[in-house]
């Protein structure tokens, strides 16, 4: 390394141009591409979602004869993509990581120095995450369909994509994954700490449903319907409701999820804009 400092190679001729959302997006894409954890997280969410979907399908098919009629009647597209119930945690964690690792390493201060308009930076980060998870979600949905649906169709379950509801259920997968990822993203901004934000996400996805399920009376059941995992599930169910409390309608599930996301994202943005970095 040289001791003398030469700054001769330094001069940029081009005029200063105002940076916009586009530059923030480019930068966020470059960030996501240049760390390994993003790639691994997305690959794991793909393998977990598709793998568990296929596993459940294979086991269900093998034991078809011992399954009673009322349970058989609940087999639909939500069964084909059942692995998403688990894979969603991984994409949620990805949403958290793109924020919390920046706080953990101090990179957030460097990012804000390069792009200090916080609202725009927040939107760019959210957009990049959304596009990425939508894409992976589509792959998960159709890969699960391709690999798991034959186990059900051979027993006469109608999973034809010419059925509008079946197609709707498949497209619900990327939407569900993306909204949960955005919740993880919001938790990352709110808590600014990886472990805390992931704990919050696990609580939201797995603990609150269990607690509400044990609440007595119909109130608990009503709350249980709108927790994120069940609201997401409602978007993928295509069979007519059978016994017990009926789930939300698909559109109701989407609305519940959007409200959950907004409840987390809006304060996250407000705090990000006003808090010291």
């Amino acid at each position: 390394m040289t001791v003398t400092a030469s700054t001769q190679a330094l001069h940029l001729g081009s005029p200063v141009r105002r940076v916009t959302f586009r530059e923030a997006m480019d930068s966020e894409f470059a960030k996501i591409r240049s760390v390994r954890s993003t790639f691994w997280t997305l690959l794991i969410s793909l393998l977990v979602s598709v793998g568990i979907s296929v596993l459940i399908a294979a086991v269900t098919s093998a034991n078809w004869d011992s399954i009673d009629a009322s349970s058989r009647a609940t087999m639909d597209m939500s069964s084909v993509v059942a692995g998403v119930y688990f894979g969603v945690l991984v994409t949620g964690v990805l949403g958290t990581l793109v924020v919390s690792t920046e706080y953990g390493t101090g990179m957030m201060r460097t990012s804000l120095t390069a792009f200090p308009r916080r609202g725009t930076l927040f939107a760019a980060k959210a957009t990049v995450l959304t596009l990425l998870v939508l894409l992976v979600g589509l792959i998960i949905a159709f890969a699960s369909y391709a690999l798991a649906s034959p186990f059900y169709t051979k027993h006469g379950v109608d999973l034809s994509l010419s059925q509008g509801s079946n197609l709707r259920a498949l497209f619900a997968v990327p939407v569900y994954l993306t909204l949960i990822a955005l919740m993880g993203f919001g938790l990352g901004f709110l808590l600014r700490h990886t472990a805390a934000a992931i704990s919050g996400l696990v609580g939201l996805l797995f603990v609150i449903p269990i607690i509400t399920n044990f609440l007595p009376g119909t109130t608990g059941k009503d709350i249980n319907k709108i927790v994120p995992s069940n609201a997401g599930g409602a978007m993928m169910i295509t069979h007519a409701s059978t016994s017990g409390t009926p789930p939300l309608s698909p559109i109701g599930g989407l609305i519940a999820l959007l409200i959950w996301t907004a409840v987390i994202i809006v304060p996250a943005l407000a705090l990000f804009r006003h808090r010291d970095a």
Partner: protein
């Protein structure tokens, strides 16, 4: 040009920065000097829009940082060399920043060459040594060819070669007409690099003046006198209106007098003198005196002891004859 107007930051009951007014002008290195916890980093974070001032304002070329068209084209900052994602390579870290300001890829290569990180550019920065991390931070600061550069304690933990490199870089950048604002808690470091000095203590600006003025104003001198008959000599000197401090090592410090005057007095009284030395206090001591009442964490000692010890720890040794002329040589 950086301009702070009544800049104030309060954390709970504590004022981290207290109505700070100062201007950092282009074409010179401005040192931002203060003890640990004085508010240097907080001030720098407010300049960069990372922390929101409780009141007051700070602008970059007349504009708050958040409103700069392309921040990296106007300001380059190295606040914390560790503020990078360790899983990203040095090259990609710089690329991420370049893209955020629409800078061409060629800039990344240019600054990597400039700071001498070429051989490790494709390595993940998590494994970098402190010195390499500092160089990466400086590369990031220079990425947008900015007119203003800010460095927070840039030489902390660096080896002598690295320190020399940063000193020369800062001077070269200022010589090109850029604004260079560099913080330090070491007066000795500032004396070697800064042309202008802003001193902060407990959040208050204590001095904002050219380095030369600070040196002239703050360096006190005294004459060290040793004599076998000091007990008789001291009252004679005091009777001339000079302040005499007897020292534990059987010498005396005489203030407000020239060595020749003391010699004349001793000669007239017929008293022998074994030593007569003009001692000028170091700049480190001047800085200690200035901030003596605004140090956040006092060690359990007297100020005078602490000043002496710190001066030694900073590599200045005990006060020596003609400290100032030595400093000036280094500056040139």
């Amino acid at each position: 040009m950086i301009q702070a107007t009544a800049l104030t930051k309060r954390y709970g009951p504590r004022l981290a920065v207290d109505h700070a007014d100062f201007t950092v002008a282009p074409g010179k290195v401005t040192g931002f000097l203060g003890p640990n916890g004085a508010g240097k980093s907080t001030t720098m974070r407010m300049i960069l829009g990372l922390d929101r001032p409780t009141s007051g304002a700070v602008t970059i070329n007349g504009v708050p940082y958040q409103h700069l068209a392309a921040p990296l084209r106007e300001v380059g900052a190295l606040l914390d060399a560790k503020a990078v994602h360790g899983g990203r390579t040095a090259y990609n870290h710089l690329l991420v920043l370049a893209k955020a300001n629409g800078l061409p890829r060629a800039r990344v290569d240019a600054v990597i060459d400039l700071v001498g990180l070429h051989s490790v550019a494709k390595k993940r920065s998590g494994g970098f040594s402190l010195g390499m991390g500092q160089r990466l931070g400086i590369a990031a600061a220079l990425l947008g060819d900015p007119g203003i550069l800010m460095f927070d304690e840039p030489v902390n933990g660096l080896d002598p070669e690295g320190i020399l490199w940063i000193r020369n870089l800062m001077k070269a950048l200022a010589a090109e007409g850029r604004t260079v604002f560099v913080s330090s808690h070491l007066m000795s470091e500032m004396a070697l690099t800064a042309d202008h000095l802003v001193v902060i203590g407990l959040g208050k600006i204590l001095a904002d003046e050219p380095m030369a003025d600070f040196i002239a104003k703050n360096s006190v001198s005294y004459v060290r006198v040793r004599s076998p008959r000091l007990a008789e000599l001291a009252p004679k000197l005091e009777s001339r209106g000079w302040r005499v401090e007897l020292q534990p090592d059987a010498s005396a410090h005489v203030y407000d007098a020239e060595p020749a005057q003391i010699g004349d007095v001793a000669g007239a009284e017929g008293l022998w003198i074994h030593e007569l030395t003009l001692v000028q206090s170091s700049l480190e001591e001047a800085f200690m005196r200035l901030t003596a009442n605004s140090v956040e964490y006092h060690a359990g000692r007297t100020d005078a002891q602490r000043a002496l010890e710190s001066a030694e720890a900073a590599g200045w040794g005990t006060p020596q004859v003609s400290q100032n002329s030595q400093v000036k040589e280094h500056i040139q």
